[in-house]
Symmetry: C2
Subunit: 108 residues, 2 copies
DNA sequence: GGCTAACGTTAGCCAATACTGACAGAGGAG
DNA sequence: CTCCTCTGTCAGTATTGGCTAACGTTAGCC
């Protein structure tokens, strides 16, 4: 559950979502990623650290360069988390639509 | 995309996730929700406002009480957002596993 | 060794935000 | 109308977190 927390905090920042979308389509070096934005390389590097700690991206060394790409399994963990709440909320929506159980007991 | 941003920011807070999980299983009044935590009712009320603006919960009046429950369609929007990135990251993982295209072109 | 390129790290600044306490409004019981 | 309950709102405070600038580190080239 700790990873879910870090992953959601990571995705809560628009800049990090953009970064993640970049490396979800291509494996890119830190410099290439930084060039895509108007903020400092420092800021991008910090964002990459956050994403890495949340296990949403993978890092690979190539000389002095560091290549990043999105991690499918990290995203999948979030998918399942949302799926559970989605299913539960569908369930209660159905129960309320049919008339709430307690309401049924009280009336019927 | 604006709603995705608000929804992710809303879920980034642990307390709000707990609240959402509560109202994903049962429709509860503001007071009942607040009683489940050790923070002030004020704090919980503010969290509920954030969740409502993100369209993650629905509010229903019953006398002076306000009943809240999770919104399936709000969660579904997030599910689809994650699905897209997940699919893309799977795609690049497969490409890299088979040997990167550029690498193929350079070697082969 | 000396030099450059590509990155990460640290310190400090500032805006965003989660929290508390005090107050205000709406609805039901007497 | 009065009192009480349930709840949202406002002002102020403390913490979180994203940003920049300066510095340190590693790999490759001469």
């Amino acid at each position: 559950m700790e990873l879910i927390d870090q992953a959601l905090k990571a995705l809560a920042e628009p800049r990090r979502r953009e970064i993640l979308q970049l490396v979800a389509h291509d494996e890119l070096a830190a410099g290439e990623i930084a060039a895509a934005f108007e903020v400092t390389r420092t800021a991008v590097s910090q964002h990459l650290t956050v994403l890495k700690n949340a296990e949403l991206i993978d890092e690979r060394r190539d000389g002095t360069r560091r290549l990043y790409r999105a991690r499918p399994d990290g995203l999948d963990a979030l998918r399942r988390f949302l799926d559970d709440m989605w299913a539960a909320s569908l369930d209660i929506a159905r129960r309320l639509a049919e008339g709430d159980e307690k309401e049924m007991r009280r009336v019927g």
